[in-house]
Amino acid sequence: MFYREAGQFKTTYIADQELFPVKQDRWGLLIIIGFSFVVIPVVANDYWLQAILIPFLIFSLAALGLNLLTGYAGQLSLGTGGFMAVGAYSCYKLITIFPNTNVIVLILLSGFVAAGFGLIFGIPSLRIKGFYLAVATLAAQFFFEWLFARVGWFYNYNDSGAIEVPVRKVFDIAVTGPIATTEARYIVVLSIVTTLALIATNIVRGRIGRAWMAIRDMDIAAELIGIRPLYTKLIAFGISSYYAGVAGALYVFTYLGAAEVEVFDINISFEILFMVIIGGLGSISGAFFGSAFIVLIPILITNLPLILGIPINAATVEHFNFMIVGALIVLFLIFEPHGLAKIWSIMREKLRVWPFPY
């Protein structure tokens, strides 16, 4: 009843090819986007923006990139952290070389550097598949970790070995660096993530997305119907790395403020893979659900004893955190291997016929 698309007739081809053909989806999304742009910056306090919303959005972007590669094109990758590092460090170098360029442009450009390296590390995918490929992408992860830690040029030879984000202004409002307000950084992240998410939605329903899915489902069959595996897989690696690169640049420039290469270690690659799996493979909204889940759970676990008034020391909470996250992941895989996106689509079906059973 709430979600009924009966009666929504399409009279033109343009209307038929809309990004969100169902009216409720369209309006729902518009309301969510409007709410996040207008209401949240006014209502939310610094803690909410800094500790929850900004990391949530950045990780969503990275998960989205990995989901394009793993969920849509079927190429398992464990190198996301490495590509995020490429994005962050190339953004840092770009900002050093072009100090007067708009920082948002530079963040978006640094994704292309990551995409280039993604293409290089994607080449093995033509020969190897499945877990062999996953291990091969680990090569990217470890290589970049080593490269950015060892080669001084990448961090401008400063003594700390860390990259520090300079203050940059867009329309006279500081958006990066120590003096930027949380709200400004939030808006920057939100705009970039929204735009890229809409582009991703468009990519996966078009020719490229369909080719990816054909390759994922059976690459030999896809080849027989005229899809070129070389281009398709490399495009998947390129676009996925672009998203990861932009996410990495945002992670350092708008969230951390300063970073060493250790923040992009193997654990972040796994975390993003968790987000993709828990959110749902092959689903754009799944990336957001998964990211919300993985970002919120540790915060919940840390704060729950405080709220309930149970005295417990920080180290114990940290250990329990690992245990609970591990157990939740296993439980999730057992009860809903298709992820949160699947739960959402089941709910949608229910809403559609409610209050009738079918």
Binding site: V135, I266, L273, M323, G326
Partner: protein
Amino acid sequence: MEILTQIFIQPFFDMIGDPILFLQVIWEGFVTGILYSLIAFGFVLIFKASGVFNFAQGIMVVFAALTLVGLHENGVPAYVALPITIFVMYALAFSVEKFVLRSLVNQPDIILFMATIGITYFLIGLGESIFGGEPKVMITEELLLPYGSITFFDDMLILQEIDIAASIIAAISLIILGLFMGKTRIGIALRAVADDHQAALSVGVSLNTIWVVVWFISGIIALITGIMWGAKSDVSFALSIIALKALPVLILGGFTSIPGAIVGGLIIGVGEKIGEFYWGHLVGGSIEGWLAYMIALVFLFFRPQGLFGEKIIERV
């Protein structure tokens, strides 16, 4: 020109110029390689028997070593702590099968792989809450392992006794496992499952039992690895990183081949040490972290299924 000499000619002169040092480097690589082989062996065993890419193998190594050391710290003598640890590994194998694998039968590989990462996180949390996060010292003496070193060529070549013991123990355990797989009833059933799940089921092999056995054997291998590695460095969660080093070994040897795991481990161990020692300084050192992956990656271009892996046949 200078740089080309340094890359292609100088290292080989160094090797010939100081053969004893070269032997020392090879020995160090060999010892590391054995530990890689052991971890890879645990991986292969589980992968063959259940198709699960067991990411938790590395943390099982740490967990086993931690249990042993932790029990000893709390006053349990070593000869009691060892059987208890083995029992703990059995309990772990049993619960993994009971609570995780059984519920995930017929799921895609990636789901099972993620589940083992979930197990990894769980074990890290569990180990830290029980035994604490700080590094511990392996109880080498209490386990009657030798320490000290033997020297050859006027103290030029130094072999640690613990390394020699590690190689011998690794070799013995591999032989025992080989006999177990070849001669015993359950070993043959295990090979049958590895060959073909459905065929094994149809002749009455219980998959669930086999999985417990396989995870248990991997647990014991993890314990052996943990003791050996712990004797070389501290027992801490940083050890689990060596599991990641075992992955290129798997690629090189093939996921489904036990000889591949052993040979691959030795190649990676020795290759990595030689690369680091003779070429590493040219690019700033510490290339051990990724060199193995690069070797494996280049290798994959020529043999996508690894050195000894079964040829991948795809049908439409």
